[in-house]
Amino acid sequence: MPHPADFLTAVRLANLQLEPDEVDRLAAGIAGIIAHVEALRATRPGRGATVHRCR
């Protein structure tokens, strides 16, 4: 799981001026969403291409 500081970086990159308490609420909400999205990583989907080693 990402660290809450990573969400703070995203807030800065998103160019949003927010109150500190709202940043905390936002980070908590996104952490909850990411917890559900974590299941995606377990799918390990392929890249859709077959790579052949050749000489």
Binding site: D6, L16, Q17, I30, I33, H36, V37, L40, G46, G48
Partner: protein
């Protein structure tokens, strides 16, 4: 000009004995409505005469009524339904004078012999589709003054008004935020039960159609924003194939998913409007240059079909959609719909879409990522309200912080996060690959001989206003059955097919890409079979 609100709604009391005789497809005036009224103390009686799209166009086309009369009637219905403490809050703005002028022009063209497929039909337009006469705000403070013009569907109908998003800002889920605007700050109510949500984000369009204010409305569907409110409000909602309808003038949210859709009281009404707006557009390179089949004829009953109009049709029911989390009442409605399809001659069989459970997380990541990019333009410089600050970057950040709503801010930050270095491959790239797998599931099922899929539209009927504001992912889950078709880009339609807990329940039909005609034909047969 905004019409002044009149006094409290003067709705006639609902008469159950009369209402039971009416078709449910005319709006929430049937026996169910009476039950809801007794249970909640609400009435959802339509405020118009219930003319269908076809009948309105025919009557105006033959001169039986004038388009001006239709517009006046519709506006009276809208003002009536949007007045008083029990108003629906389906509309955010009107263009009464422009609509009257357009109606007069239509009457002149009809008198001159012009044949117009939607002559005089009042159509509500979601507040994220730009028009010539109305401000486009997306229900957001950020865009309260934006004014852009398009004219795609304007050649046929007389515009009536601007329907609301379910909550503030851009499309997505059911939201509970407040909306600026002249009609107040309450969220859009479900016409069947004012304490329930209308769905989102095309909830205003769905509520307006369900309450009989307009016979049809335009919405937009990113992950289910047409089909989910259609199911909650008991109307028909269709999301066409991605690329079937031009998105010129649609405020972009998630561009690989966004599609304009139609809401109507019947399948035939939705088909008539879709047929007008479908097709290539030089202003939108993603609108496919493919011939549009006769969607109006497809939705008409075939008099020669006999008792088995769907003979030879193979309908698949994905096992993954009928899991333990489904509301028992919704499951029962789906079972009855499958039974009705069998009775119509179709072969119904179980199929598998194995990656369904990963569709919602993948959609959440992709939609947020694309939204964060699309909404970057609303910075108070070129677009959006500006907040003064000492430096340009500070002004931009302050403008975005003040103008964008809470749900949009959450999505922007989530999207920025999953696109940022270190997390991009972990989340965004994975989500894109999962999307491919979800799309392949659909293509494999259709390639194996299944013509259509039958699923629930939502896991449950409309939930209470404010019930899920604290858990955004719980709110996202109401789109769990509509998101997969959006990821795959295939057309899907929600059809009211019964009730659960006294609220409308929709079933969803999904077709292969570009098969809207087959989708509408099957939906029209199922509609006739499940109508009370």
């Amino acid at each position: 000009m905004m019409p002044r609100r009149c006094g409290p709604m003067s709705l006639a009391p609902t008469r159950c004995s009369t209402a039971r005789k009416r078709s449910r497809r005319r709006g929430p005036t049937d026996s169910f409505s009476c039950r809801a009224s007794r249970r909640t103390g609400t009435t959802a009686r339509p405020v118009t005469d219930g003319r269908s799209v076809a009948r309105t166009a025919r009557d105006v086309g033959t001169g039986a009524v004038t388009a001006a009369d239709v517009v006046r009637s519709a506006m009276a219905a809208i003002v009536n339904g949007e007045s008083g403490p029990r108003r629906l809050n389906a509309f955010i703005s009107f263009a009464y004078e422009a609509a009257v002028d357009a109606a007069a022009a239509i009457d002149e063209r009809v008198a001159a012999g012009a044949v117009l497929p939607l002559a005089g039909v009042p159509v509500a337009v979601k507040d994220n589709i730009c028009t010539a006469d109305l401000p486009t705000t997306c229900g957001s403070r950020m865009l309260a003054r934006l004014h852009v013009a398009v004219r795609r569907h304007r050649s046929a109908p007389a515009a009536a008004g601007r329907s609301r998003h379910r909550g503030q800002d851009e499309p997505g889920r059911v939201r509970h935020g407040l909306v600026h605007g002249a009609l107040g700050v309450r969220p859009t109510c479900n016409p069947y039960d004012r304490s329930r949500v209308a769905g989102g984000s095309s909830g205003g369009s769905a509520a307006a159609v369900a309450a009989g204010m307009v016979p049809a409305a335009l919405g937009s569907d990113t992950g289910g924003s047409v089909r989910q409110p259609a199911a909650f409000c008991g109307v028909v909602g269709i999301r066409p194939t991605w690329g079937r309808v031009s998105r010129y003038g649609l405020v972009a949210h998630a561009s690989s998913l966004d599609q304009v859709g139609v809401l109507g009281r019947t399948v035939a009404d939705a088909a008539r409007v879709l047929h007008v707006i479908a097709g290539a557009d030089a202003r939108d390179m993603t609108a496919a240059a493919r011939a549009v089949p006769d969607l109006v004829a497809a939705a008409e009953p075939d008099p020669d079909a006999g008792a088995a109009p769907l003979a030879g049709l193979v309908v698949g029911v994905p096992a993954e959609y009928l899991d333990a989390g489904l509301h028992p009442g919704v499951r029962s409605v789906c079972d009855r719909a499958a039974h009705a399809l069998r009775a119509l001659g179709a072969t119904v069989r179980e199929v598998s879409l194995p990656h369904t459970r990963h569709a919602l997380p993948a959609y959440t990541v992709i939609a947020a990522a694309e939204a964060s990019a699309n909404l970057a333009r609303f910075d108070g410089v070129r677009f959006g309200a500006r907040v003064a600050a000492d430096t340009a970057p500070d002004a931009c950040a302050a403008s975005r912080g003040a103008g964008l709503g809470a749900e949009v801010r959450r999505r922007i930050v989530l999207g920025t996060f999953v696109l940022s270095g270190g997390w991009h491959a972990m989340y965004y790239d994975t989500a894109r690959r999962v999307r491919t797998l979800v799309a392949r599931d659909f293509h494999a099922v259709f390639a194996a001989g299944t013509d259509l899929l039958l699923t629930p539209t939502t896991p449950e009927p409309a939930f209470a206003v404010g019930e899920r504001t604290g858990d955004p992912y719980a709110m996202y889950r109401s789109d769990v059955f509509t998101v997969p078709a959006a990821l795959a880009g295939v057309p899907a339609l929600s059809l009211p097919a019964g009730t659960a807990d006294g609220l409308p329940v929709g079933v969803q039909l999904v077709a292969p890409r570009w098969a809207e005609a087959e989708l509408l034909a099957a939906a029209a047969c199922l509609e006739a079979a499940t109508a009370p």
